[in-house]
């Protein structure tokens, strides 16, 4: 970047936004303008917004690039802006105490930011930023130098697999769709919740990917399917579409190739099942998102009965890279059967929650302890849940497993669209499984029997177990139920719905049995199975717990050791949290 400009990049993804990034950016503009900074230092200053940089727990992140050196500030608030402008921009001296710490480096070190790369660098609302980094070159290359079949072959050679649920080979899907003769075809980009950072950070890449996809399969209409509730994503995509249209990247006779392409929004409304592609099509057609029977597959008979390719935004974002840099470049990343990178939202009990992109095959240990910076509060890692609600639970013993499609399938999980939640010793695995089943039960569309009734029965049984009335027979019933659901459900949701139970039961059988045989919740989560009591020799009779108790279950007086009346206790844990002397025992 030119040396005569000072760039200030404010992280303004959903996370930066939530942390007050808009205000931070406004303050930068305000000070730079008010104090006539540009004139005083003789350089241009360009404060701009950029997409998510991933390190969301320390938002708002602000990069100041001056004299070829980049300084990243963390947790910036509007009141800090004036000093940054004064001391750093004007004075040339970065404020060390506010800059990111080592953890930021280690957070980034193991990542391979291929798709996310531009997200923290370019202004998502400015197509010129995208063009400056070779944007739309891939589309041009495809349309002017490659045949549609050539594009399909290139994608097949790259080994790219769908970044959504089942990990189907993208190129093969395209090939099938391409092979069906039809006057009308569609390409659909599903922008799910985990794709939001892409839509917010680099919307043009999604559009370019969709464009290339349309060219490859012979579709002249593309849909951006997005929940209307993702306001920021919608806004940025809308803006991106307008700009792309203005520059002639969408419309008629693109790049002089004779290929016409138009993109439209289709606004869905929240429903987890819309991640299933046939349900998604129902939603685009304006109906209840109940999955259709397959076959026919969408590639043969999709939207309005026409051949349709559906991929998610991450998949499409990979396309310009594959076409632009070549399939060989892409295939060099990852493992033998799982190529490229995968984006995850790392959340839960790790220190660094955030958005991460890793090369396929990276061991979980590197993700949790390297990128994630270990477990919060130095507690012990218990398990990692990957692949969204219907994914599986991976125990500590499998920390060295490489994350790719095959390995996850082997342990009963899926890559899914990219959720990764880390649990520590304080989390009860039965409750976690119950949580996911409850979620899936709520999101089941209700069409087929195994999923509609099966998830309900599973939830009831798990509730029984966490409530302390479960039996070993119930575990057998759960297993039997899981078998029926996995093999007979209509769509992926129902087929994978038993995963949270099956994988957790596989790896944490003892914990289940403790709930059943000993009526104990080892993690101290299941309220029906825990008791609170005062450890007499630790109690300082301060009265904090007594005042915190909503049920008046605690007796005691100043200087009199307190006691909890088990009959009155509602097990809310208020006393446990209130006690400063660790004198309340939970077991």
């Amino acid at each position: 970047m030119a040396n005569d400009t000072i760039e200030i990049k404010v992280c303004l993804g959903t996370s930066g936004n939530a942390a007050g990034g808009e205000e931070v950016l406004r303050m930068f503009r305000h000070y730079i303008f008010e104090k006539g900074i540009e004139a005083r230092i003789g350089k241009r200053c360009s404060p701009s917004k950029v997409g998510c940089r991933g390190f969301c727990s320390k938002d708002v992140l602000v990069d100041v690039i001056a004299n070829d050196s980049r300084t990243t500030y963390q947790s910036v608030t509007p009141i800090m802006v004036e000093r940054i402008v004064e001391e750093h921009v004007l004075g040339g001296a970065p404020i060390a105490e506010w800059t990111v710490k080592d953890e930021y480096a280690s957070f980034n070190a193991k990542q391979r930011k291929v798709v996310l790369g531009p997200c923290g660098e370019i202004d998502p609302d400015n197509i010129d930023d995208y063009l400056a980094m070779r944007g739309y070159r891939a589309a041009k290359k495809a349309m002017t130098t490659m045949t549609p079949d050539g594009v399909v072959d290139e994608v097949i050679r790259s080994g790219l697999r769908g970044r959504g649920g089942s990990g189907f080979r993208t190129g093969e899907k395209w090939k099938a769709c391409r092979s069906v003769p039809s006057d009308t075809k569609y390409v659909v980009c599903n922008i799910g919740e985990v794709n939001r950072p892409l839509a917010e950070g680099n919307p043009q890449a999604i559009i370019e990917g969709l464009l290339i996809g349309g060219y490859a399969v012979g579709a002249s209409k593309g849909y951006l399917y997005i929940r209307e509730r993702y306001h920021l994503s919608v806004e940025r995509l809308r803006n991106a579409l307008v700009q792309a249209r203005e520059r002639g990247f969408i419309g008629r006779d693109l790049f002089g190739s004779g290929f016409d392409f138009d993109i439209e929004f289709s606004f869905g409304t929240e429903a987890f099942i819309c991640g299933e592609e046939t349900a998604l099509m129902e939603s685009i057609e304006g109906r209840r998102a109940m999955p259709r029977v397959r076959p026919p597959f969408p590639a043969y008979r999709g939207l309005w009965g026409k051949p349709t390719v559906i991929n998610n935004a991450e998949t499409f974002s990979n396309i310009p890279l594959i076409i632009g840099m070549g399939s060989a470049w892409f295939a060099a990343i990852g493992t033998e059967h799982s190529k490229g990178t995968k984006i995850f939202t790392l959340s839960g009990k790790v220190r660094n929650n955030g958005l991460v992109e890793i090369p396929m095959g990276m061991p979980f240990r590197d993700i949790v302890y390297g990128i994630g910076g270990g477990i919060e509060g130095d507690k012990a890692l218990k398990a990692i849940q990957v692949g969204g609600p219907s994914g599986g639970i991976i125990p500590t013993s499998m920390l060295d497993l490489g994350l790719d499609y095959e390995n996850l399938a082997r342990v009963g999980s899926i890559v899914g669209s990219g959720g990764m939640v880390v649990f520590d010793e304080d989390d009860c695995i039965v409750s976690v499984a119950k949580f996911y089943i409850e979620f899936l039960q709520r999101e089941s569309c209700g069409k087929c029997v195994p999923c509609r009734i099966g998830t309900k029965r599973m939830l009831e049984l798990l509730t029984k177990i966490t409530g302390g009335t479960g039996t070993e027979e119930d575990l057998k019933t759960l297993e039997r139920l899981s078998g029926v659901m996995a093999s007979t459900s209509l769509c992926g949701l129902g087929r994978t719905a038993p995963n949270p139970f099956l994988t957790s039961f596989n790896h944490f059988k003892d914990e289940y049995l403790a709930h059943i045989r000993e009526k104990k919740c080892p993690a101290g989560v299941c309220t029906a199975l825990i008791t609170f009591s005062v450890i007499a020799d630790k109690c300082k009779a301060c009265g904090l717990c007594r005042r915190a108790c909503p049920a008046n279950a605690i007796t005691g007086a100043p200087k009199v050791v307190h006691a909890i009346d088990a009959a009155k206790c509602v097990k809310c844990g208020a006393c446990y949290r209130a006690c400063k002397f660790k004198a309340i025992k939970k077991q």
């Binding site: 069906v180 429903a271 057609e285 304006g286 109906r287 209840r288 109940m290 029977v293 397959r294 076959p295 026919p296 043969y300 008979r301 309005w304 009965g305 051949p307 039960q441 709520r442 999101e443 089941s444 569309c445 209700g446 069409k447 087929c448 029997v449 195994p450 509609r452 009734i453 099966g454 998830t455 309900k456 029965r457 009831e460 049984l461 019933t477 039997r480 139920l481 078998g483 029926v484 093999s487 007979t488 459900s489 209509l490």
Partner: protein
């Protein structure tokens, strides 16, 4: 607006896959028996051609495919697949009733029954219920799975159709028949997940054409005809086939008769009306047993219609008609035949007018 919004899927189960493949027949093996079928044939249909029975609940031969109940599951090349949705392909190896498959089927039925009232003893459809039949066949006495059941108040005020949604297994046949065949769409799926329910908009009372097609396709006791309630069990019923007395469509009707009373109307699927009826045909039969029926001849005496014997009536009529004919000529007498009487009666009527009375003054209300 896409036309799809107005009326849903075209209802044809054929897929472009089948249209793409050449029209040469497909050969597959079902339970070890080879069979050749046309491309686009489902595995279920192929099995039926071989006379192999696969249980179904949501499938209906005249409606589009749903694939919701999953009981028609079979093993295709080792994988469990619903046979109503799978299209026959060359070289397929299908097993319809391995212990594995039968086990899955039983568990699915078990799940359905875990959310179904156990009141078969008072259910109108007992003995004529597809779910009961399968529960019996698979010997499900006490379900393995059990838990909360959906409980709904019954409060539909319409006079034709009783809707007991607790017995509904959400097969969707009623929704499809209402939309695809009848073109009404009075009911649809509402809510989702375990709470999914088929109901009229905003759970109002059913307000539709009341053709009762939904009742005729319902596999359980969820939809039954109100006028027929408690009028008699299937076992006591005698069925008679005849033709509907209403409009000119000439629908075939099968009446269920108990003693001397028609209690229910239905129709066979292979008739010109394909088994479908309208509200008049399906529910409009009770006039036959109406207490208002004329039961004796009446002659006006002193300005009042008074009951008379047939002998007296015929004698009177013979005398009166003869005297009018003799006095004013045959053309002073006229006759209206009826578009609601049989061909034979009309033939006799005109023959009487022409041959016995001697006039061509005969007409009927074809013009109204």
């Amino acid at each position: 607006m896409s036309s799809n919004d107005k009326h849903t899927h075209d209802g044809s189960p054929s897929s472009p896959l089948s249209r793409l493949s050449s029209l040469s027949p497909v050969t597959l093996t079902i339970d070890g028996r080879p069979i050749e079928v046309l491309p686009g044939t489902t595995v279920l249909a192929a099995a039926q051609q071989l006379g192999i029975h696969i249980p179904v609940l949501c499938h209906h031969p005249k409606l589009s495919v749903t694939g919701a109940c999953r009981v028609c599951i079979v093993e295709i090349n080792g994988q469990p697949v619903t046979s109503c949705t799978a299209l026959a392909e060359n070289g397929m190896e299908v097993t319809t009733a391995s212990p594995y498959i039968e086990g899955l089927r039983k568990d699915i039925l078990d799940l359905i029954l875990s959310d179904h009232p156990y009141d078969c003893m008072v259910c109108e459809r007992a003995g004529d219920c597809e779910l009961q039949e399968l529960a019996y066949k698979y010997q499900i006495r006490t379900p393995v799975f059990h838990g909360e059941r959906r409980i709904y108040p019954k409060r539909d005020g319409n006079p034709f159709i009783e809707r007991d949604m607790e017995k509904c297994i959400l097969c969707g046949r009623c929704v499809k028949v209402c939309d695809e065949v009848q073109g009404v769409g009075a009911i649809d799926y509402a809510y989702k997940g375990f709470g999914t329910k088929i109901c009229p908009p905003f759970e109002r009372d059913l307000d539709c054409e009341f053709c009762g097609q939904c009742v005729s396709v319902c596999p359980t006791g969820a939809l039954v005809s109100k006028p027929s309630l408690c009028k008699g069990r299937t076992r006591d019923v005698r069925t008679v086939e005849t033709v509907c007395p209403y409009c000119g469509c000439g629908c075939n009707i099968t009446y269920d008769v108990v003693k001397n009373e028609v209690i229910r109307a239905g129709s066979r699927p292979e008739t010109i009306n394909e088994g479908w009826l309208c509200v008049k045909g399906r529910f409009g039969f009770s006039f036959i047993n109406s207490p208002d029926r004329l039961k004796a001849p009446l002659i006006r005496k002193n300005g009042k219609l008074t009951a008379a014997s047939w002998e007296e009536t015929f004698a009177y009529l013979g005398e009166r008609l003869r005297s009018i004919r003799d006095m004013h000529g045959p053309d002073a007498i006229g006759g209206f035949a009826s578009a609601r009487c049989t061909n034979e009666e009309n033939y006799l009527f005109q023959k009487m007018m022409r041959a016995a009375i001697g006039t061509n003054n005969i007409d009927h209300c074809a013009r109204y």
